[in-house]
Amino acid sequence: MTYVAARGGEEAIKRSEELYRHLNGSIDRTLVRSIERHLPYLVDRVMGEGSLYAPELAALAIAQTGGDLYEAVLLLRAYRSTQPRLAYAEPIAPEDLITVRRISAAFKDIPGGQILGPSLDYSHRILQMDVLEEGRGGAPSPRDLLPLSPGDRGERAGVRGVDPLLAAVAAPPTYPAVAAWQRLTGLIDPLPDLEPIDSAALPDVTREPIAFPAPREHRLQSLSRADTGGVLAIAYSTMRGYGLTHPTVNELRLGYAEIRLRHPVTGIAFSAGRIRLSHAEVVTPFARGATKLGLGYAATMGWNEVKILAASMLDLEMENGTKHPAHAEEFVLEHTEPVESSGFCIHYKLPHYVTFNSILDSLRVAGSHETGESPSPNGGVGSTEPSEVGVET
C-alpha cells in the first residue's frame, strides 16, 4: 500500500499541512514581533537570501515555517517575485553608510579608526544559564546585548535616564573606505571614471537569466542573495588550500544605508527609510600577475559577517583564480543559490517510480547479457526477447 500513501491528492495535502500546524502550534502577531525584535541576525539572514528587505515579512516567514530557513527564504522570494518595481533607489556609496562597525585586518589603524561596534567576537562563548532561572534578574538579558538601531537610543536613554552604552562624544556616523587610501597610494587600481549610474538599466539577475561569464552586476547580486552556508562551504575549501589564495580582510563594515529615491514629479531626492547593510572587501597581492592588490567585494542586506567575508573571498578568487571549481563562476554561483539548491534537494522526495522502472529495465537487460537469463523479475517472460518490445510486425 506504499504507493497509496503517496496518493490521495488534495485531501492528503490538506491533512498533512493541518498536522504540521497542529504539531508546531499557532503563530500570531506577538510571536512575529518578538522574532523581529529578538532574532535580528536570523531575520537579516532570511532577508539577505530572500533578497527582500522587509523585517516584518521575514519574521512572519520564519514563524510560519517553524524556523526552517530554506522554507522561509522561499516564502520571501515567492512573495517578492509578485511585487512590481515601483522605483529605483540611488546607489549607496560605502562612505555614506551610517557605520556602527568597521574593522580592517590589514592595518593596525586606519583613517577614521577601527570601530569595533556591536559584536560577540571577543565574548566568552558560555551559555548564560542564569537566564533560564526564574526570577533571576540583574544579569544582562539577551535583549540588552542586541545591537541598537539608531531609533532605539533615545528610547533606552528615556527609560533608564543615562544609557551606559552612550559615549560622551558621539562617533562620526560615516567613514572613508580603506580602499580609498590604497587607491591614493597606487596599491589598488584607481576607480574607472563611471558615467552616472542609471539604476533602471543595471543588469538584474532576478529579471534575466544569468549567463557565464556573468556580468559583474549578476555576480555580486548572486553572491548577495546566496546561501550563507553554501558560500561558506565553498570559500572555506579555498581557505584550507583547495585553490589557495591569500586574502586579507581590508575592510568589514556593518551599518545603516539610507534608501534615497527621487520624487517622480519634482525630482527631489528623499529618504524612503534605512536598511541594515553589511559589506566586506578582501585583498590579495599579485592579482593577475600585476604588482597591485586585487580586490574582492561582497555586500548583502542585513548584517551577516560570515556570508560577506566568504562571498568577498569567492569574488576575488573568481576574478583571479585557476580552473579550480571554487574559482569558477558557474560552479560557485549556481551551487550557492539557496532556493534552487534546497528545492532540488527536497524534490528527490517526490515519486520517481516511472524513472526508476526505466532504470531497472536497462539494468536487467544489461545484466541478462552477462548471465544469459531472463531480464524479468518474475521469470515469466523468458521466451520473449527483450529487444522485441514494441516491435513492428
Binding site: 504507493y3 503517496a6 496518493r7 490521495g8 491528492g9 488534495e10 492528503a12 495535502i13 522561499l74 515567492a78 517578492r80 517575485s81 509578485t82 512590481p84 532576478t206 537569466p209 544569468i210 549567463a211 557565464f212 561569464p213 569558477a328 558557474e330 532556493v339 534552487e340 534546497s342 528545492g343 532540488f344 534537494c345 524534490h347 517526490l350 515519486p351 520517481h352 517510480y353 516511472v354 524513472t355 522502472n357 526505466s358 532504470i359 529495465d361 536497462s362 539494468l363 537487460v365 544489461a366 547479457h369 531480464p375 524479468s376 523479475p377 518474475n378 515469466g380 517472460v381 520473449t384 526477447e385 527483450p386 529487444s387 522485441e388 518490445v389 514494441g390 516491435v391 513492428e392 510486425t393
Partner: protein
C-alpha cells in the same frame, strides 16, 4: 459613472499569478523555442510559491499560456492523484479559474512530470513537460558554457562515444528515462525524464510539446509534426522498456507503460502508470460510456508510426 465603476476590481494577484511582464517574457521565449525546435532558450524564471524542482518551470509555462476557457490536466508519474500533481492542479485552477480534468482527450493543456499519456494527443492540445535538467550534454560536460558551445557547433561526438562505450561495456544502451533525442535533425535534447516508452510519442506528434526547467532557467519545444529520434546506432536500435508478459493488476491492461509493484513473496505485480487511461478501461468493461482515444501503442505493443521502432538484429 464613477472612476470605481471603470476600474477593474482589485485582486491579490494577477490573473494566472504571473505579472504581465513575466508572462510577456515567457511568451516571447516560447515563440523562440517553437521557432528553433529543441534549442534551449534561457529565461528569467521567477520564484514560484512552491519549491524549485517541484515543477516551477512547467508551471510558469502553463500559467503564461493558460486562458479562462482552457481545460487543464496535471499528472505526475502518469497519475492525476499524485500529491504534487494535485497541488499544482489546485494552484493553476485557483489562479487561472480554469476547469480541470483527468481526461487526456478533453484537456487543452496537460502539465506532466515524467509521462506522456497513452492516448494520442491532438493538434489542439499542448503538453507541458516539467524538466529537472534540460542539458543532455551534462553527462559528458559539466560546464554549461562549454555545453552551449557544443550545441552551437552541433558537436555531439562525445555523446556518440559515450553510447559506443555503453555497448562495448554492457552490450546495451544503458540510458533509463530522459533518453536523449535529436530534434528536427539538429539539436540534441533531453525529453525530460519520461520513460523511453514515451520518447517515440514526440516524433511527428500532432500536439505541441513545451518543456521547461524552472531551476535551470531554460525552456524548449517540440513543435507539431517534427522529427524526433533517439540517439542510436543504425545496427543497434534504441529499445523501449519491456512490457511483454506484464499485466496490470487493476485493469488487465497490457502493452502500456506498467510500473512494478514489489510483493512480499519476492514477486512483482504491475500497475498501469497512466491512471486515467486505466480508469477508462475499467469503466468501459463495466459498460459505462467512456470514450477511449486511439493509443500510441496498440494491445500488441505496436507503435502507431509503422517502422519507427526497429527490430534488433542479433
Amino acid at each position: 459613472m464613477t472612476l470605481a465603476d471603470l476600474a477593474f476590481p482589485p485582486q491579490d494577484y494577477s490573473y494566472a499569478f504571473l505579472d504581465d511582464f513575466a508572462k510577456r517574457e515567457l511568451r516571447r521565449r516560447i515563440l523562440k523555442a517553437v521557432a528553433i525546435p529543441g534549442y534551449q532558450v534561457p529565461y528569467a524564471s521567477r520564484e514560484m510559491p512552491m519549491a524549485r524542482g517541484w515543477g516551477t518551470g512547467g508551471l510558469q509555462v502553463t500559467l503564461s499560456i493558460v486562458g479562462p476557457r482552457d481545460v487543464v490536466k496535471v499528472i505526475d508519474q502518469g497519475d492525476d492523484a499524485s500529491v504534487n500533481a494535485a497541488n499544482l492542479r489546485s494552484f493553476i485552477a485557483r489562479m487561472a479559474g480554469v476547469r480541470t480534468t483527468t481526461d487526456a482527450l478533453e484537456a487543452t493543456i496537460i502539465q506532466s512530470r515524467h509521462r506522456i499519456p497513452e492516448e494520442r494527443l491532438g493538434e489542439r492540445q499542448v503538453l507541458v513537460l516539467q524538466v529537472p535538467d534540460p542539458e543532455p550534454l551534462r553527462q559528458v560536460e559539466a560546464n554549461m558554457s562549454l555545453a552551449r558551445e557544443m550545441h552551437a557547433e552541433a558537436d555531439y561526438a562525445r555523446m556518440w562515444l559515450g553510447l559506443y562505450e555503453q555497448l562495448v561495456r554492457y552490450k546495451e544502451y544503458t540510458g533509463g528515462a530522459d533518453y536523449p533525442v535529436v530534434v528536427n535533425g539538429r539539436y540534441l535534447m533531453n525529453p525530460s525524464p519520461i520513460p523511453r516508452w514515451d520518447n517515440p510519442k514526440l516524433h511527428q506528434a500532432a500536439h505541441l510539446t513545451l518543456l521547461s526547467a524552472g531551476r535551470e532557467k531554460r525552456l524548449y519545444a517540440v513543435p507539431p509534426y517534427t522529427d524526433v529520434y533517439p540517439i542510436e546506432f543504425d545496427d543497434v536500435p534504441f529499445r523501449v522498456e519491456n512490457q511483454d508478459g506484464h499485466v496490470c493488476r487493476l485493469t488487465g491492461v497490457t502493452q502500456k507503460f506498467l510500473t512494478e509493484i514489489p510483493q512480499a513473496d519476492g514477486r512483482a505485480l504491475y500497475e498501469i502508470s497512466d491512471t486515467d487511461y486505466g480508469a477508462k478501461v475499467v469503466a468501459r468493461e463495466r459498460g459505462e460510456p467512456r470514450t477511449i482515444g486511439a493509443t500510441y501503442y496498440d494491445d500488441e505493443g505496436r507503435f502507431y508510426h509503422a517502422g519507427y521502432l526497429k527490430r534488433r538484429a542479433r
